[in-house]
């Protein structure tokens, strides 16, 4: 189908974009890379009256390291993340995850800010932000708000961003030298949305997790920072400890059922990922041995 008629404004600056958003409220929609917005408009799932195209706002682009924080502008595209030496060095989880996002032609247009503001619960980057303990920076006419990624995603396609605010950038803590990461998703085909996925960031001291943030995606209405991961921190990992965490994960998540997978299949796959992640990050193949999950 074709998008219904709308007006179009090319914002010249963040200030200009905010003026337009304040004037038009939720009748306006921000166009970034358009790789989620345009399909939704073509399918007539949404019909905004005004499109505010922020694609030309140069101040929203770019990747910069400031001390132990990596700052990524909202308009930074997936392909930029994939090719950036800073991303590869400081937040390798993100590089690994982006390779799973759709296909080259989509990654050439899709942006980080667009993906986060769209907040599809099955998409990779929101979960990475939660795993990486990112701060999401949004700006309105009253000023800036800094929102922890954990609190930013509030439901299916819902975020803490108001219709009068613009997502400006994200800040990520730079990976420490004993940091490790894990990313895996199950999908029908490479590039499809995940049936279940896991983005995890850990600090490993010796053979113990000093910290472990596991963000599951496509298992609920938003990325889920698994509380069950706490059971794996600061303990000597045994199959019994892992089983305990796995059971806790199964109780904690409430996956949806759809044409791709049942809720119980998603719960099972999430447990498989928990096991694989733990085994891989600690270099303990014995823990991935097939057992009750």
């Amino acid at each position: 189908m074709k998008a219904s008629a709308f007006s179009y404004a090319r914002a010249t600056s963040v200030v200009n974009a905010l003026e337009l958003l304040v004037a038009h409220g939720d009748k306006a929609k921000v166009l970034s890379g358009g790789q989620s917005l345009m399909p939704a408009m073509n399918l007539r799932l949404i019909s905004p009256e005004l499109i505010v195209d922020i694609g030309e706002i140069a101040e929203l682009r770019g990747i910069a390291v400031r001390g132990d924080v990596l700052c990524i502008g909202a308009l930074t595209r997936h392909v930029d993340l994939l090719r950036s030496p800073e991303i590869a060095a400081y937040v390798p989880l993100l590089k690994e995850a982006v390779a799973h996002v759709a296909h080259p032609a989509i990654r050439n247009r899709g942006t980080l800010g667009g993906s986060l503001a769209h907040a599809d619960p099955a998409s990779e980057l929101p979960a990475c932000m939660v795993a990486l303990n990112a701060t999401i920076i949004v700006r309105g006419q009253a000023g800036e708000r800094r929102i922890a990624a954990e609190n930013f995603f509030t439901g299916i396609y819902e975020t803490a961003l108001s219709a009068q605010e613009l997502l400006i950038s994200v800040e990520l803590p730079v990976a420490q030298k004993n940091s490790r990461h894990f990313f895996h998703e199950f999908a029908r085909r490479h590039g499809d949305y995940a049936l279940v996925g896991l983005a995890a960031q850990a600090i490993v001291e010796g053979d113990v997790f000093a910290d472990l943030r596991m963000a599951f995606f496509a298992v609920g209405d938003r990325p889920v920072l698994a509380k069950a991961a706490k059971k794996l921190v600061n303990v000597a990992l045994t199959p019994a400890v892992l089983s305990d965490a796995s059971t806790a994960l199964g109780e904690e998540i409430d996956p949806q059922e759809d044409h791709q997978a049942s809720a119980s299949m998603r719960r099972h796959l999430a447990k498989v990922l928990l096991r694989r992640c733990t085994s891989e990050l600690l270099g303990r193949p014995d823990l991935s041995a097939r057992g009750p999950v």
Binding site: Y8, I106, N108
Partner: protein, 161 residues
């Protein structure tokens, strides 16, 4: 502002000036305004990849881009790549390997394959599959297409296919 807007862009090296409605996507602009019908329209929501074109040298989905967003840009379609001879060898390999299948995806397959070969002179079959994975349409198989791309890569490297 729902009125038409003026855009000026390069299409296959030629300057194009036009008035378009904001809702018009690039694929429809190319096909209906410029009669460049080699760019195909399949799903219209970014899944099938049949509408792939190059904008400023990078492949994109033309159904997921508005014509007004291409103001000032350089757009290349399959007609441009074909007429310039840039992909003559790739087209020949598709013919030789009978890699057309139903033919609907072919222009965009050529676009995506050329994009890969520009970035990786010597891709393995897995890399070819991954790069073309955004162009799976309604047929199945695609093996002959992988063969054709692999053959072209080898010939460009100066090897026997």
């Amino acid at each position: 502002m729902t009125a038409s807007m003026e855009i000026s862009l390069d299409v296959n090296g030629e300057r194009v000036e036009a008035h378009v409605l904001p809702r018009l996507n690039l694929a429809d602009f190319l096909r209906e305004h410029l009669k460049l019908t080699g760019t195909h329209v399949g799903c219209e929501h970014g899944v099938c990849g049949a509408c792939t074109v190059r904008v400023n040298g990078e492949i994109v989905r033309s159904c997921l881009m508005l014509a007004v967003q291409t103001h000032g840009a350089s757009v290349e379609t399959i007609e441009g790549l074909s007429d310039s001879g840039e992909i003559a060898d790739l087209q020949a390999a598709f013919r030789d390997r009978n890699a057309l299948q139903c033919g609907f995806c072919t222009p965009a397959m050529l676009m995506a394959a050329q994009d890969l070969l520009k970035q990786h002179a010597d891709p393995d079959r897995e890399q070819i599959r991954e790069h073309l994975s955004g162009n799976y349409c309604r047929c199945t198989g695609y093996q002959a297409i992988i063969d054709a791309v692999e053959t072209t890569a080898r010939l460009r490297m100066g090897h026997q296919p």
